[in-house]
């Protein structure tokens, strides 16, 4: 069997289907998107080549940079919320009563489809009949905020369900990582007189550093290309106050019939995501890998 696997042709045979699929579904469309970005194209009539005009327009487009700001803000918020998830996972993984139940409770939002989450939060945020404003009314606040209609708070209001939706996912990842650390390490530290806090900071966190890095990349890139809840809940509005890069791309391409420009935004989005991934890897790179042994 080893001999078969070392035959280059056989390797090629096995790798080929997956390679072809990923080429056809991911890489070729990416190249095509870059190509469309150089075109003036309404999606229906023939394309005309306009060089880098779309990208020039993009650099000067105030609405686009607004959406970039919103996306970056979301990325920062999601990255910071990872700290909270770490704490929760730390508590859950130490054998407290009912940790199993809590783990499941945190995971449930992730099992719901984005549209269901959006509908749920639309009801919560409803200006007159919503749970939120009914509660605020009940405690005597007469003019509670109009969550999704007020341009100054809509962005914050929509981040809450986004963070809420993914909390369970990250908590689960951290929980599994903490559980993977051999109990003997913590035990040895305890015998040496380390406090639980010291064990957490000095032993457990360094041991799951690789996992944390991955989640930071996931959270940041996921936020940068985020689309679903924004699309369902506000459609980027009111007046672009909750527009993010992906929703702006969608509006330009599918609402404004400007597929050339939309493709340019899409390609730019890809570059931003790549740059951020690279930067995070670079910043968090450590010389030595800490291992359990």
């Amino acid at each position: 069997m080893d001999k078969v696997m070392s035959n280059k042709k056989v390797i090629a045979l096995y790798v080929l289907p997956a390679l072809l699929l990923i080429l056809a579904i991911v890489y070729i469309p990416i190249i095509l998107t870059g190509y469309y970005g150089l075109m003036e194209w309404d999606g229906v009539s023939p394309m005309t080549f306009i060089g880098l005009d779309n990208y020039q327009l993009l650099l000067k487009d105030g609405e686009f940079w607004n959406s970039v700001q919103h996306s970056l803000f979301l990325a920062v918020v999601s990255a910071l919320s990872l700290i909270a998830y770490l704490l929760v996972a730390l508590v859950l993984s130490s054998q407290i009563k009912g940790s199993n139940l809590f783990r499941k409770i945190y995971l449930i939002p992730m099992l719901m489809s984005s549209v269901a989450v959006a509908q749920l939060w639309l009801k919560i945020y409803h200006p007159t009949n919503g749970v939120m404003n009914s509660m605020l009314n009940a405690i005597g606040i007469e003019n509670p905020p109009l969550w999704l209609a007020d341009t100054s708070i809509v962005l914050g209001a929509i981040f809450v369900p986004i963070i809420w939706q993914y909390a369970g996912f990250y908590i689960l990842i951290y929980y599994a990582a903490f559980k993977n650390i051999p109990a003997s390490l913590a035990e040895a530290a305890r015998i040496d007189g380390a406090s639980p806090w010291q064990i957490a900071i000095r032993i457990k966190l360094p041991l799951i550093a690789e996992v944390i890095k991955v989640t930071v990349v996931l959270a940041v890139v996921g936020s940068l290309k985020y689309f679903d809840l924004i699309y369902v809940m506000t459609g980027g509005g009111p007046n672009g106050a909750s527009e993010v890069m992906a929703s702006y791309m969608y509006h330009k391409a599918f609402r404004g019939f400007d597929f050339g420009y939309g493709s340019a935004i899409g390609f730019f989005l890809l570059i931003i995501c790549l740059v951020f991934t690279w930067m995070i890897r670079k910043l968090t790179a450590t010389k030595e890998n800490i291992e359990y042994s």
Binding site: K3, V10, V44, P127, T128, V154, G237, G240
Partner: protein, 453 residues
Amino acid sequence: MRKTLLSIVLVLAMLTVLAACGNNNKANTNTEDNAKVPANDGAKVEEPAAEVAEDVTINFMHLWPAGGSPTQNQIVKKIIEEYQTANTNVTIKTEELENEQYKNKLKVLSASNQLPDIGVTWAAGFLEPYVKGKRFAPLDDMLQGNLNGKFVAGTTDAYAIDGVTYALPLELNIVPVYYNKELFANNNLEVPQTYAEFKNVVKTLSDNGVAPIALGNKDRWTGSLWYMYLADRFGGPETLKSAIDRSGTFEDPALIDAAKEIQELVKMNGFNKGFNGLSNDEGKAEFMNEQAAMYMMGTWELPNYTTNPDVAQEFKDKIGFFKFPTIDGGKGDLNSWVGGPGVGLFVSEDSKVKDEAKKFVEFFVEKWGEHSITEAGVIPATKVDTSTIELNQMYIDLLNELSNASNLTLFADVQMKPVAAETHLNMIQALFGNAVTPEEFAKKHEEALSAGK
């Protein structure tokens, strides 16, 4: 040795799979051929004409899924069944999508040149790119043929570009203001005849803690209706039309006044709370729950106030409508309406069964006219003889209004080209949200419209 053996086995295995596929295909075509021959023979014996009628499949994509628009869905099914029984060689395959998804899918399909044989389209600006891209077939031959004189005058114009008609309208909608008679009576209010009276109604309702107007402006075109009426009543129907077709300007004082008036209404708390964050359905709910007293919407809402069995009769009895009042010193006329043809049917230019598809469209348009008003409460674009069918009084009133209409202004976002329409809709939301001044509002429109995209 073993290595080569294994490779050979693998290659053989793959070859068999491929060969099997090939065989299957062959087998299929064979059986089809076999099946066709006797069928043709049989036809020859009985009726030589049937020989021409080959089996055709027509793909039809529409936006009335059984969940969202059950009555329309039923009508479509009925018409298709009727057609298929009359033409046994035709199979009509439908694909049903909800409005927004439908629009998106149509664009994607069009980009890859895979439009269905027949589909639903909107008028004017929506249609234009498809026509420019030569995706829709011209249908003038049908209008001059059997369908000549069947449509309400002028309704097909909105589907014509450079004098050629590319789709046939199914519905015709005008936009009245619906109001809740009980809420009006409770507040000692009467139907306003002038805009000053209308503002008084808004003020009284708002002072008494009733939301005067239900609006869901997340969808943006809903707010656009209000702006269009004000623009019409201030400047007359031509001002907005000429601003959009570029023979005039959007910085016309009447159009700026209309924008000012919108912000005035917002300042008076004329609309329900948080309207900019609510969808049309959520805004409508305020009216249906009797929390808001007025609601401006197209005649497609009529079933909710007349025939829809899901709405309580008690509520239906409370609802009336009035025409948007005129403004003192304005040029607009009380009988000028915002509205226009709703959706229409197109035939794909690249369809392989174009002639069959056209025949079906012709059949569909006529049957739709018969079914839609009595069953779905939709006002069809084809002429209706009100004397022969029994209709709810509200329909008769509106059909009469329609025949008295002095002007019909097509929805602004439909009149404009896609990029300008997007700007218009965003600006509407900004205007209602007090994020722009009326002057900026006009300037942004002027910029977008003169860019010509």
